[in-house]
């Protein structure tokens, strides 16, 4: 099984961070992983994206042209990457930012109002974790527990309360996947 994921949005939406968390979690669960950021001129004031590969065999190309899954955090990212998603693939749309719908019929699409959900939790910064929770529920690619464990290593001491907040955000996203 090889998952090739593109996560795309504005700089500051936590796009790179979703990718890094997926990559780290994949590694912890014993998969082969790679993470490639966009570092082009489009990063300045425009879109940012990263490509993650999680696989059970050694990874050939770390460059993803035809993703199996797309997390689109803003409209331009959906427009840019929707045509490239493999038939039968998955698109998770950040409905707080993106007004348009996925036009393709041969992919599965979910719409998650990540900012609203993060707002309900009192911290807009966890909007990306809402999307990550939806991704994990929708694909079953990784265990929620793995992410929770990682969070408890990242947030310690005075930041320890952020573990529970982030886990709630993951659960809020997961709830959108039926």
């Amino acid at each position: 099984m090889t998952r090739e994921i593109i996560i795309a949005g504005f700089g500051g939406q936590g796009v790179m961070s979703i990718g890094k968390t997926l990559t780290e979690a994949g590694l912890k669960e014993g998969h082969e992983v790679s993470w490639v950021p966009s570092y082009g001129p489009e990063m300045r004031g425009g879109t940012a994206n990263c490509a993650v590969v999680i696989s059970d065999e050694p990874i050939g190309s770390p460059v993803v042209n035809r993703p199996t899954e797309l997390i689109a955090m803003n409209g331009p990212s959906l427009a840019k990457f929707e045509p490239n998603v493999l038939p039968g693939g998955l698109i998770l749309v950040n409905a707080s930012q993106v007004e348009q719908k996925v036009s393709r019929q041969d992919v599965k699409a979910y719409y998650i109002p990540s900012m609203e959900e993060a707002g309900k939790l009192g911290n807009f910064k966890v909007a990306n974790m809402v999307m990550l929770g939806a991704y994990i529920k929708a694909t079953g690619a990784l265990k929620m527990d793995t992410i929770a464990q990682m969070l408890s290593h990242i947030f310690t001491g005075p930041k320890a309360h952020l573990v529970a907040l982030n886990i709630k955000a993951l659960e809020a996203g997961a709830a959108y996947i039926k």
Binding site: K20, T23, E24, L27, E32, V33, S34, W35, V36, P37, Y39, G40, P41, I59, G60, S61, P62, V63, N65, R66
Partner: protein, 356 residues
């Protein structure tokens, strides 16, 4: 050993420190900025020297100074910055000084782009600066290999008293992959009894220079260099051949491109096409013999070279294959990266032409 996620540039910098590099000199340029950034923190911790020089030219000449004093020294840059270092590289060769130079290639020519490229192959393998010099060139295609080759590069530089280049592309610098930090057995290295550290009681003046005004003397020096290069060409050839036995098509590629070609080969295998990938790990010296033997197999119809350039390594492939098989080329350039599908299409096209 635990696997850790490392970004290419940072892994290369850490590998250098672990290999005993204690002097780093550099000047910022994308896509290798994480190397000086990392070194600026790590070098002082390791008791070494970090200088952000006023230019690439200053940085390579600081490397010359540190290397002349017997210290393991390194610089890094990306294509336009490496062009600026050419004079210094030639001086390192002329003074027989060990040093490691990292080139995270981007698309050229000129300032070009900041995206990955492989168009500095000629510069690295044919003409590192002016004169009859040569330089060992190592080309990692993943982060683990990048870290391992950096350690090896420092040893090779010391053994042969010659600069060694790590020639990677911006993608290798920017990507993250899991790696394991291996404990390395220290190599047996010749003493640096030439280093400019004073007479140290041996009564001999240690004089490091690349100036030999007497032409006859300079010719003798060049011949000695040539002897060294012949030894390197014999003993330091590195490559990996993946599924090349009985292959119908052999794809030759290095760095990130080799990874893309492996993905294409896997896809083609599912269609019943036997595709091998021949991956030079050392670009100079080039694995001519190994490639020629594989190309000579009766099963092989064609040897396809894929690069992020308009065709540079393909000249070495043609020298290796020597006309016994067709040697087509496919390249993307200027910062564009070939897609797996595009490489697979090239193979389909070659097979159609062979049948026709």
């Amino acid at each position: 050993m635990q696997k850790e996620l490392w970004k290419g540039n940072e892994a290369i910098a850490e590998a250098a420190v672990r290999a005993g590099c204690r002097a780093y000199f550099g000047y910022p340029i994308t896509p290798q900025n994480e190397i000086p950034e990392y070194m600026s923190v790590r070098m002082p911790e390791a008791g070494g020297v970090f200088v952000q020089a006023e230019s690439e030219i200053a940085a390579i000449n600081m490397v010359y100074g540190a290397a002349a004093a017997g210290v393991r020294a390194m610089t890094s840059s990306s294509s336009p910055g490496i062009s600026l270092k050419q004079e210094g590289i030639s001086y390192l060769i002329g003074a027989e000084l060990p040093a490691v130079i990292v080139n995270m290639m981007r698309g050229g020519p000129g300032l070009g782009t900041i995206q990955a490229g492989q168009a500095d192959y000629f510069q690295a393998t044919r003409s590192p600066g002016h004169g009859d010099g040569r330089m060992i060139v190592l080309a990692p295609s993943g982060i683990q290999e990048a870290a391992d080759l950096v350690a090896e590069a420092f040893d090779l530089a010391d053994i042969y008293r010659n600069p060694v280049m790590i020639l990677a592309d911006g993608m290798i610098g920017q990507m993250m992959e899991p790696i394991v930090w291996h404990e390395r057995k220290p190599a047996e290295l010749p003493p640096k009894d030439w280093a400019a550290l004073g007479r140290e009681g041996d009564g001999r003046t240690h004089f490091v220079t690349s100036l030999r005004l007497q032409s006859a003397e300079n010719e003798v020096f060049n011949q000695q260099l040539m002897g060294k290069y012949q030894q390197i060409a014999r003993d330091e050839v590195r490559w990996e051949a993946i599924d090349c036995q009985d292959a119908q098509i052999i794809i030759v590629a290095y760095g990130t491109t080799a990874r893309i070609c492996q993905s294409a080969a896997r896809k083609l295998k599912q269609e019943g096409i036997r595709v091998g990938v021949f991956r030079p790990i050392g670009l100079w010296p080039y694995p001519y013999e190994a490639l020629r033997k594989l190309a000579e197999q009766d099963t092989v119809r064609s040897v396809l070279t894929v690069e992020m350039s308009l065709g540079q390594m393909v000249e070495d492939v043609r020298l290796a294959v020597c006309g016994v098989k067709p040697t087509p080329f496919y390249g993307r350039t200027g910062g564009m990266i070939p897609e797996t599908e595009q490489v697979a299409d090239q193979v389909h096209q070659i097979l159609r032409e062979v049948k026709a």
